[in-house]
Amino acid sequence: MILYHLNHLRELEAEAIYVIREAASQFERPAMLFSGGKDSIVMTHLARKAFYPARIPFPLLHIDTGHNFPETITFRDKMVEEIGARLEVRYVQDSIDKGRAREEKGPNASRNVLQTITLLDALEELKIDAAMGGARRDEEKARAKERFFSHRDEFGQWDPKNQRPELWMLLNGRKHIGEHFRVFPLSNWTEMDVWMYIQLENIPIPEIYFTHERDVVDRDGMLLAYSEYITLKETEKVEKKIVRFRTIGDMTCTGAVESPASSLSEIIDEIAASRTTERGTRQDDKRSETAMEDRKKAGYF
């Protein structure tokens, strides 16, 4: 009977497609969060597969911090046009201008936390009742406790101690008015699964995942891309290095790794040999031991 057995990547694919189709069916106004990072690109690809030959029946939503890598935005716009998806963009800058959010100060200032305000405002404005995200349980200890369908109260908050049990593949998306859900189709994927799937399905990704020369600043052992959004400390200097990014977030908090990997195959070899996790390149997680848990409770992804 070995003939009738799916390999693990195809099983994860089947599971994710099931979750995406469930979200599209159980909710009135679902949306898929799109950051331009590899996880949201894979999730968008799965959404295409789920509804083909129809188009993706919900919009993609990008919360733009204004501190994106320009390559991400170019990639996003091209992809959206190619697949005929609907894209909504909401800007953290608008939240700041309206006085809804206040910019952090100092050299480690980041808009990462501010995104939550813009995200929650966007969900309310667009009346989105289910926001799909590419978060994975293997990324971080607080995310290890997430459900596929994760309930949020009317303030967008996560209550980790009072989550709905999730059994078999029975997903309960019932809610009261004003509440919403976060949906995580890639819950059971690991970083390696994502990369292997990108290779298997030949999915295009932004070029900054591959090796390139870049101006970087070494801050506490993390190589931050130098840009107008970075305030240099006195002892810091800008250097040119051959780098690539292992995750793509804000320019202000995503660290680069020194790497000559110029193809998917080389990236995969590099990750297989790597002795640190990908969140190790994220300054946003290093603020405290419970940085992710605290942000998630407040409505972050």
Partner: protein
């Protein structure tokens, strides 16, 4: 990940296992040991737990800290919720549903068990089979986990004695004769010292069997799926609003069991209409034979009225279609079960309502005794009840089919999932 191979990765199977255990039986240490000895722990993770072990004044690195999650759990030193962990060897990818073992967390154990191929149960070699061992085994049998591995742990504390091991095996066999367990393995281990976890123990020459890792990598799981009874709940009807696909009707869903291929004669429930499968496809690619747990889209040879919640089955192999049936439930909510009460019920992807007609008996999960007089069903209780649904459900018994045999009950006021149910 030193043995990583790309080709191998494409052929890996996925194995989901659950671990149940209490505070002191070494469950977190065992998981930590599996991850550590199989080189799945990264430098930044190891540094973090080294620091925390030091802060707490431990002499050695406490591997159990690897599985800590939420703030409250770290403060109390326990696991509250189901935590999922991932690791891979060149043979398989593993998903661990790590659940707390105390009686007050029965619901979490049931949750973790619901999708598992294998259950790991830890027994302290010094203490032997305890109430909690019976409880964990009962849940594994109730949830029909196909394979059970009894890890007799802390062998280092009984001088690696074969006699001590055999005594626990015998005790367990005696107790489990009352349970419905298909495949059981016994292993003498020490999670703390690493005996028989990943590496074969040098301390127990009398044990000729496999290590835990070997078992996890080689237990035969491909026959765990049901490839006989065709069950395809229609999840979503695809009707592209594009001119080139004007007449396209695709029935999208995940195959629960059975094998589907073009040319198969099928029946649609509840209408009972017949049709022939034209294509089974995904993303424009035709699939010759589709089977569980694939997500696919089917097209049929004729226009049939099909909507979400309908089921496509084979003509000569239909599930039960009834409105009244018995269910074994695990109650998961602080509000007690109401006899005569109405609840929302979810079965595959179908929603209905139901009324609780009878509470047959409650099970004492420490002794497996049935109590027909106790009708108070509260948090973590397990009971057999009879329910009536507003519309017929198309189901199989849970023993025959885990996915068409399971339901959840939902409180219509709070929208919380209040019970997990297995159709008898």
């Amino acid at each position: 990940m030193s043995d990583f191979s790309k080709d191998g990765y494409m052929n890996m199977e996925l194995l989901r296992f659950t671990t149940a255990g209490s505070v002191d039986d070494g469950k977190s240490t065992l998981i930590g040991r599996l991850l550590y000895d199989s080189k799945q722990i990264f430098e930044d993770q190891l540094e973090a737990i080294e620091q925390r072990s030091q802060q707490r004044g431990f002499e050695h690195v406490d591997l159990s800290l690897l599985t800590d999650g939420l703030k409250a759990e770290r403060e109390q030193g326990i696991t509250i919720d189901v935590a999922y962990r991932y690791f891979a060897t060149p043979k398989r990818k593993f998903i661990i549903a790590d659940t707390p073992g105390h009686i007050q967390y029965t619901r979490n154990m049931v949750t973790g068990a619901s999708t598992a191929n294998v259950a790991l149960i830890l027994v302290d070699a010094r203490k032997g089979v305890l109430e909690q061992t019976i409880r964990h085994s009962f849940i594994a049998s109730l949830l029909q986990i196909p394979h059970l591995i009894i890890c007799i742990n802390k062998m280092d504390l009984v001088e690696y004695s074969e006699e001590a091991f055999n005594k626990v095996v015998e005790e367990f066999r005696h107790v489990s004769s009352k349970l419905d367990i298909k495949d059981v393995h016994f292993l003498p281990i020490s999670a703390l010292k690493g005996d028989n976890v990943v590496d074969k123990s040098q301390n127990m020459p009398w044990y000729q069997g496999a290590t835990l890792m070997y078992l996890l990598e080689n237990i035969h799981i491909s026959s765990d799926e049901n490839h006989i009874d065709c069950r395809f709940p229609v999840q979503y009807v695809i009707r592209p609003q594009q001119t080139e696909y004007h007449d396209y009707r695709g029935y999208a869903g995940r195959i629960v069991s059975g094998i589907y291929k073009p040319g198969d004669k099928v029946k649609i429930l509840p209408s009972g209409e017949s049709a022939v499968i034209k294509t089974v496809e995904l993303f424009g690619e035709n699939i010759e034979e589709a089977y569980a747990p694939m997500s696919v889209t089917m097209t049929l040879d004729r226009d049939v009225d099909i909507s979400r919640g309908d089921m496509i089955v084979r003509e000569n192999n239909a599930p039960n279609m009834e409105q009244e049936f018995d269910v074994m439930i695990c109650w998961m909510n602080a509000n007690k079960l109401q006899l005569g009460g109405k609840y929302a019920i979810r079965h595959t992807i179908k929603d209905a309502r139901c009324v609780i007609k009878d509470i047959r008996y409650k099970i004492d999960i420490n002794t497996l005794h049935r109590n027909e007089n106790d009708k108070e069903i509260g948090m973590n209780d397990i009971a057999r009840i009879n329910i009536k649904t507003t519309v017929p459900l198309y189901f199989d018994s849970y023993r025959k089919n885990r996915y068409t045999g399971s339901v959840i009950l939902i409180d219509e006021g709070t929208n919380e999932t209040v019970a997990a149910g297995m159709i008898v």
